[in-house]
């Protein structure tokens, strides 16, 4: 009934710890220049006030401004390198992805901030996620022209 999988801001500790450590002060939401971060309310009252990202509406653009303002260690304050972020892993739905249906589409590949590492085009045609490098920012999910998105970021499990 309630939403349980949330894409947390960059630098977040693992989910079970994040729920305990975040003091829900809202500073990460305030400093975010893209207003990507929203606070939980009706989605799950037990997680009331916790920050998360709705990638399809507005993804994380990895400006790395939120981790240094976290007062409680819910986001790793020392994180500055966007390549080391791990929010989730993108998964491609091959049944709906246009490239796999035979069309020529490389929207996710062109917009990936970890360019040509996290997303690779096999034979210059089919996108493949390299899990080792994917940071889970959700930009691919945001730009996907298919409705609903054919590439979806799955938040990390514990």
């Amino acid at each position: 009934m309630f939403k349980t999988k949330f894409l947390r801001p960059p630098g977040a500790v693992k989910e079970s710890e994040f729920v305990k450590k975040c003091i829900r002060c809202g500073k990460c939401q305030q400093i975010c220049p893209y207003n990507s971060i929203v606070l939980t309310s009706w989605e799950n009252p037990f997680y009331f006030g916790l920050p998360y990202i709705i990638a399809r509406k507005k993804p994380c653009y990895l400006c790395m401004k939120c981790p240094p303002v976290c007062p409680s260690g819910a986001l790793d304050r020392t994180l500055v390198d966007k390549n080391k972020v791990k929010m989730g892993i993108a998964r491609i739905n091959r049944d709906t992805c246009w490239a796999y249906q035979g069309s020529f589409c490389r929207a996710c590949f062109m917009n990936c901030p970890i360019f040509d590492k996290a997303l690779k085009m096999t034979d210059e045609l089919l996108p493949v996620v390299i899990e080792k490098y994917c940071v889970g920012c959700g930009i691919c999910e945001n730009v996907c022209p298919v409705e609903p998105s054919a590439i979806i970021v799955e938040p990390l499990k514990d």
Binding site: I31, P71, S72
Partner: protein, 273 residues
């Protein structure tokens, strides 16, 4: 409306309360451009220092125990409200807290426009307050969202930020919570929430030092026993009897209202040290 601002302390206090609101609004409109001032009443970032709500931080420590991240600037910020409460009493509640301001407006409307008599009189002993605080701490530790449902100043400041961002689903949710608390409060004689329930207020009240800022009844000046101060006290205390001022949050309303036997010889006054 004149009554709402009348008196030296009351006027200054209203300016502080309105100033707090405008200050937070200014912070939220500039938060993309600066990181010097950020935050809500749960935790506020002032330069490098993260001032935190004592109740929030205590539950945070209890929840994480050894895994807690003891960031130097957050621990410093945890001590600041306690130090202020130690010296000046619960001035946060009366001079800054937005829920108190909201309630005072409603209280003013209630007594001056509708003239309804308050319904239920409730009094709690200091011991039962401590028991409730211990229970609230335990609930906050085992149910992580619990403090965020009952701490009104933090909720109101988060709400203000969501208003700036136009995130209406959150606004609706928190507005319902705030209205619920106001509804409960309006049925009781004078402020049950601030006096007995708000855990932050209770902690600040306990951190208070007896020699700090307080209201006293001077013995060298004669009191007319008119009890105006007790009628006007926003917390329903009895300053004219000169006793049980441990709940008092130093708003200065009674000092403003006090009329001594002769001019400028009012028996009620603030005392520091």
């Amino acid at each position: 409306m004149k009554d709402f601002f009348k008196g030296k302390f009351t006027l200054t206090r209203r300016l502080f309360q309105i100033g707090t609101f405008l200050f937070f609004l200014a912070v939220y409109y500039t938060s993309h451009k600066q990181s010097f001032l950020l935050g809500t009443f749960y935790s506020f970032k002032l330069g490098p220092i993260h001032i935190v709500d004592p109740f929030i931080y205590l539950t945070y420590l209890g929840r994480n125990l050894l895994k807690a991240d003891l960031f130097v600037w957050t621990v410093t910020g945890f001590l600041i409200p306690l130090l202020i409460a130690f010296l000046f009493g619960r001035v946060f509640c009366s001079w800054i807290c937005p829920y108190n301001f909201l309630y005072e407006i409603l209280d003013f409307l209630k007594t001056h426009l509708f003239r309804k008599k308050p319904l239920i009189y409730f009094e709690a002993s200091p011991k039962s307050k401590k028991v409730w605080l211990a229970l609230a701490l335990a609930l906050g530790i085992f149910i992580p969202p619990f403090p965020y449902y009952i701490l009104m100043p933090g909720l109101l400041s988060v709400l203000l930020h969501q208003l700036v961002l136009h995130l209406y689903s959150f606004i609706l949710f928190s507005l319902l919570l705030i209205l619920m608390v106001l509804f409960v409060d309006l049925f009781f004689k004078k402020r049950i929430w601030c006096k007995f329930i708000c855990p932050t207020g209770l902690i600040l009240g306990m951190a208070r030092w007896k020699g700090g800022l307080r209201i006293i009844k001077r013995k060298d000046l004669t009191c007319k026993e008119c009890a105006l101060c007790s009628f006007e006290c926003p917390l329903g205390l009895t300053p004219h009897l000169g006793n049980h001022l441990e709940d008092c949050y130093n708003c200065g309303r009674c000092v403003d209202i006090c009329k001594g036997l002769r001019k400028k010889e009012n028996p009620l006054d603030f005392k520091f040290l």
